[in-house]
């Protein structure tokens, strides 16, 4: 099978590339800059912007399946910037893929597209909600997901996969930030870290994307949540990440309303200062860390014939070995 993957520079992207290549698929990638994994495996790379129609048309040429992972993430950026990359970029890719006769289109989404703020405990994959999702990232991803699923048609199967909080060795988004902050003693817990949250070990998320390509006939037109199926309290997750990395655990706890207000202030300050890094606390993060987020995976497991392969204990062991060699 010939597969195009967008966003191969991320941890998840490179992991999917490795798994597909290992089983004999012919993989090419599309992203801004050259990646180590492509170089290592000798893959074709299409370098440039997702909104470059000519580049995208060239990239989808002769491809059976597209896995669309590229996205603007984080909390910094204007509504237009998120919209441009995540919505317009997806439209460009969708149109090109359909025109080129691609038969399978896997959109990598996020559970936050259906999250309007209340605690989620054992919820399934509810419909994306572009108007009420929290934050620019979630709203833009929600709109993109709605459009991708609406494009599902005979001969052009689309599917959305929503991995929740992907982490693993080498992850700079979640694990990296926690560890950095812990090192400088700036790591706090919202609401005592009591909220139960799902996370996804990197290999399991990659497996799920591969499974989505393989079982798209059973799940086309729908969204599926992916996680380890082992919700733990925020406190425990952070504490175990810190332990694996050999850094001190969280030093303070912040009540939810304080965290939320602090997030609002920080976001405003960062906007004024035109900073491009992420502020230490955002309203989105306060919500994410202060309320439960865990999911019912039964539909995903049934339809995609997938189960998490690496459990939390194993994941933390691998994280620990990684930090042992990458201090």
């Amino acid at each position: 099978m010939r597969v195009l993957l967008t966003g191969a520079s991320s941890l998840l992207g490179s992991q999917v590339v490795r798994q597909l290549t290992a089983r004999g698929d012919h993989v090419s990638t599309l992203q801004r800059r050259p990646t180590d994994v492509a170089a290592e495996l000798g893959l074709t790379e299409h370098l440039g912007d997702i909104n470059d129609a000519a580049l995208v048309a060239e990239a989808v040429e002769g491809v059976d399946s597209v896995i669309h992972l590229a996205a603007r993430v984080g909390v910094v950026g204007s509504r237009e910037q998120f919209f441009q990359t995540n919505v317009v970029g997806t439209r460009t890719l969708l149109a090109a893929a359909r025109a080129a006769g691609v038969s399978r289109f896997v959109f990598v989404s996020s559970p936050s597209v259906a999250h309007t703020g209340e605690a989620l405990a054992g919820n399934g994959a509810e419909p994306a909600y572009p108007r009420h999702a929290k934050g620019q990232y979630s709203r833009s991803k929600a709109l993109a997901e709605v459009e991708v699923l609406a494009a599902d048609a005979p001969g052009f199967a689309t599917i959305a996969v929503r991995p929740h909080l992907v982490w693993g060795p080498g992850d700079t988004q979640l694990v990296g930030r926690i560890v950095d902050r812990a090192k400088t003693g700036r790591l706090g817990l919202v609401s005592g870290g009591r909220a139960l949250i799902d996370t996804t070990y990197i290999d399991n998320a990659a497996d799920a994307l591969v499974a989505a390509v393989d079982h798209i006939d059973a799940g086309h037109g729908r969204a599926f949540i992916v996680s380890n199926g082992q919700p733990r309290t925020v406190e425990e997750m952070i504490e175990r990440i810190c332990a694996a990395a050999g850094v001190p655990g969280p030093s303070l706890t912040v009540p939810q309303p304080v965290a939320w207000a602090g997030g609002a202030v920080a976001e405003a300050a960062w906007r004024l200062a035109r900073r491009t890094d992420d502020p230490p606390m955002t309203r989105f993060l306060a919500g994410q860390l202060g309320t439960a987020h865990w999911f019912d995976l039964r539909e995903t497991e049934r339809v995609l014939q997938w189960r998490p392969r690496v459990d939390l204990d194993e994941g933390f062991e691998r994280l620990s070995s990684y930090y042992a060699t990458h201090p």
Binding site: A119, A121, G122, V190, A195, L196, T233, A292, F295
Partner: protein
């Protein structure tokens, strides 16, 4: 005339039909009805009749899901709902004629089950009495055919009928409808309320609501009084017709008194009280429509239960047999030392109570609640009630005041026999029972407590009165209550022969003879001495707080009767073990004569039994397993308990002789859908078959139907399995089963493993999240520490403790104390704990469970 507007919640426009025909006066009218179809349904038709203020919308759930083979027709009365506004005043008698005309216009010729609510009740009954030949059944909910004797007229209706109020409330505004709905528990959603208001938008559409209220015959001489009396008197025509009474007990209009009046008139009726529901019970009780459908479907399988009841010894038989015996029957432990009542005295008292009650007016089958602590008076009252043929309602203080109130109101006793403290409590419970006081009271106190007579006076009356005929073995004997640890306490009704069988089962199991003497530190068992014909004593303790039993108090009671048998609950025995060093030497000698120590009511740790046995060197320890509905079910002795060790649950031993125990396996959704089998290693609901099983749950037809849906078996609500050696293990209550994505998980085994961690006093395994995708959370009671997330070392210790089970614990929480029942001080309310855990782990307020 118009049809319901489209879009009303839960209503399918396709159900609406207009029926034209003559009314009671011969004028052609148009009715609106909801009709599920099909015409000519093979089984027959459910004819649903609403009350005031309401319309056929009340029955929409039944119309949506008729019982298989049945058609449901729900009518709107003329001037009500979407039927024609006639501009006339229609009283009860013409409304019955109207219904008759309507069913003729509908050509309802086959079998009919009438289903009615509120003032639809008398109208439907009027119709039913005229059509007994085609009447297959009668369903009534919150209605009445008569002002119950001595009851104040419903205050709400009285208030609404004062002229100024009447017009203002019922007609000019929608308040009467709104008010009615506001009594609903829970309050119906806005969409549903809109549905009820729909036909009554304008003043002129509401005229009949006022007329209906005016047509309630609250006083003799009312124009509709005669018609209502005729309907009430005609109920004897329904003696062979199945009747179902479904009731919302929180109804301020049709209170439990009306239910009791209907039961008196139709004693054969099946009854279900939806605890917590109010007047609009078809709306309030979510399962109402399904329950009606189930009952109607069961009409085919009705058969009179025939029990080959071997003639047993009456419950008072042993007292009668030993009536010349001057040895102690009941010994009370008081501060001044033991006081003794001999078998002769006891038998005389029982006969005097029986004769006195009869002379006082107590009928066979009347219900008499007992709020008397175990002792001589309780024994005399209880066996006297039985000898009279009345039904003893046994309400122990272990239910707590609120639980007692709920229990007493559900049983609806005609009499209460109580100590002054009990009467004071009962005064606040809104019962209409006559009060019989145990103990003497000054006249003022008698008036304040509404005391009709005293037990002493009853006995004096009885000594000059003839003994009544004894009841048959198949007569109803007692209503006991479940502990209420998993929802409101349920009344459990026993027949005489079932209690006889229970007594005989205990006697056989523990080889009890006249030579045995009993000390019972556990409520119910204190009463069994007289039935077994053995001498008994209750130690000086607060039976509502088992942990108040000291070793010395127990030992003194043992010494007083030279006891051979000791009954106690684990909570009581725990305190006995703790205070064991204080026992005087004299009593230690008596303790050496005990041959059998029985621990019941809750699982008992073998170490505790071992410790108590050190006080009773010749005794063997046994733990019978059972429940309010059937006891004993199984039994285990201490050596076996120790051999069993730890496993998935609590080992309760092997079924006792005469009892069959089997398992109905849980499916992946945690429901006990498997066939009832005696296979080993299958986890499922424990099902019991025994001669000493209860007759049924009292006034809980729906609950009873579910518990006895497999004929001859009682589904216990406990979940467990048999091990390879045929021993039964209890893994928890069905309602406490956690249903994860990988299937059901039972709590007790996990809790036991967790409780082995030294710091942990008690543990509760609960589920968070939706059933089917639940995560397991362990909540541990540490005593001192606060509520919240467990520290990492404890969390890891819990995970390690349960590791071998392969079950994942998502989180570990700590609490200062877990909520438990009062009676056993041990049954954890895991439902409440689960809701608390959910809130904490959602990121909400911690607080306490």
């Amino acid at each position: 005339m118009s049809l319901p507007p489209s879009g009303l919640h839960g209503l399918d426009p396709a159900w609406s039909r207009e029926i034209t025909g003559p009314d009671s006066a011969g004028t052609i009218r148009t009715w609106h009805v909801l009709d599920s179809g099909p015409e000519g349904a093979p089984k027959g038709t459910l004819l649903c009749v609403h009350g005031n203020p309401s319309w056929s919308y009340l029955w929409r759930r039944l119309v949506a899901a008729p019982p298989a083979g049945w058609r449901v027709i729900a009518i709107d009365h003329l001037d009500m709902g979407f039927s024609e506004r006639t501009g006339t005043v229609r009283r009860l008698a013409p409304r019955v004629d109207d219904l008759d005309s309507l069913t003729q216009a509908l050509k309802l010729t086959g079998p009919v089950v009438t289903v009615a609510h509120d003032w639809g009740g008398p109208i439907s009954l009027g119709w039913a009495e005229r059509h007994v030949d085609q009447l297959a059944g009668v369903v009534l909910s919150n209605t009445g055919v008569h002002q119950p004797e001595g009851s104040p007229a419903p205050t709400v209706i009285r208030a609404a009928r004062t002229p100024a109020m009447l017009n203002a409330v019922t007609k000019r505004t929608r308040n009467f409808i709104r008010g009615g709905l506001l009594f609903s528990r829970p309050l119906p959603s806005r969409e549903i309320r809109t549905g009820y208001y729909a036909p009554y938008g304008r003043t002129d559409r509401r005229a009949a609501i006022e007329e209906f209220v005016q047509d309630i015959p609250l006083e003799p001489g009312h124009p509709s009084a005669a018609a209502l009396d005729e309907i009430a008197a005609g109920l004897d025509k329904l003696a062979d017709v199945p009747v179902l009474l479904l009731w919302g007990p929180r109804d301020p209009v049709f209170s439990d008194l009306y239910l009791r009046d209907l039961i008196d008139r139709m004693p054969h009726a099946d009854v279900h009280r939806y605890e917590g529901s109010s007047h609009f019970v078809p709306e309030d009780a979510p399962t109402f429509a399904a329950d009606v459908a189930q009952w109607v479907q069961d009409l085919d399988r009705r058969e009179e239960a025939t029990h080959p009841a071997p003639a047993g010894t009456p419950l008072w038989g042993a007292l009668e047999r030993r009536r010349r015996d001057k040895t102690p029957a009941v010994t009370e432990m008081t501060v001044n030392g033991p006081t003794v009542t001999t078998f002769t005295q006891m038998n005389t008292r029982v006969e005097d109570v029986a004769a006195g009650l009869a002379a006082f007016g107590v009928q066979a089958g009347d219900r008499i609640a007992l709020l008397v602590p175990p002792g001589v008076d309780l024994t005399a009252a209880l066996y006297g009630i039985w000898r009279r043929g009345a039904i003893a309602v046994v309400v122990d203080a272990g239910l707590g005041l609120r639980g007692m109130r709920t229990a007493l109101r559900s049983a609806g006793p005609q009499y209460v026999i109580a100590i002054p403290k009990g009467l004071a409590a009962v005064r606040t419970m809104g019962l209409t029972a006559k009060h019989i006081c145990v103990g003497d009271l000054p006249d003022t106190a008698r008036r304040v407590l509404g005391v009709s007579t005293t037990l002493v006076e009853i006995e004096a009356l009885g000594s000059d009165s003839p003994l009544p005929e004894p009841p048959a073995d198949d007569a109803q004997a007692a209503i006991a209550f479940t502990s209420g640890a998993t929802g409101p306490a349920k009344g459990v009704l026993y027949l005489h022969r079932q209690l006889q069988a229970q007594r005989d089962a205990l006697a056989d199991l523990y080889a009890i003879t006249d030579d045995d003497r009993l000390v019972a530190a556990f409520g119910v068992f204190a009463l069994f001495g007289a039935a077994l014909g053995i001498s008994s004593a209750v130690p000086d303790m607060d039976l509502t707080a088992p942990a108040t039993l000291t070793a010395t108090a127990l030992a003194e009671a043992v010494d007083a009767v030279d006891a051979t048998l000791v009954f106690g609950s684990p909570a009581a025995l725990a305190n006995v073990a703790e205070t064991r060093s204080q026992v005087p030497i004299r009593c230690q000698e008596a303790l050496a004569g005990v041959r059998l120590l029985l621990s019941t009511g809750a699982p008992v740790p073998p170490e505790l039994l071992r410790e108590v046995l050190q006080m009773m060197p010749s005794a063997q320890a046994h733990a019978p397993y059972g429940m309010t509905e059937v006891l004993p079910v199984a039994d285990i002795d201490l050596p076996e308990l120790e051999r069993a060790g730890s496993g998935n649950g609590v080992c309760v031993g092997r079924p006792v002789p005469g009892v069959t125990v089997a398992i109905s396996a849980l499916d992946a959704d945690g429901n006990p859908t498997g066939p009832i089998v005696e296979e080993r290693s299958v986890t499922g609901e424990v099902c019991v078959r025994a001669a000493h099983t209860k007759q049924r749950y009292d006034r809980l037809w729906v609950t009873e139907r579910a518990a006895s849906r497999d004929r001859g078996w009682h589904r216990t609500g406990d979940v467990g399995h048999f091990d390879d050696e045929g021993r039964l293990w209890i893994e928890g209550r069905l309602v406490h089963v956690i249903v994860t994505a990988d299937g059901p998980v039972t709590p007790v085994g996990l809790e036991r493993l967790t409780e082995a961690i030294p710091a942990v006093r008690r543990a509760a395994a609960v589920g968070v999240g939706p059933r089917g995708a639940q995560q397991v959370v362990m909540v541990v009671e540490l005593g001192a520490s606060g509520n919240g997330l467990a520290p990492a070392p404890l969390r890891d210790a819990v995970r390690l403790a349960v590791k071998a089970t392969g079950i994942e614990i998502a989180a570990v929480l700590t609490v200062a104390s877990l909520p438990v029942d009062i009676r056993h001080n041990s049954k954890i309310d895991r439902v409440r704990v689960g809701q608390w855990a959910q809130r904490v782990l959602d990121g909400g307020r911690v607080g306490a469970p």
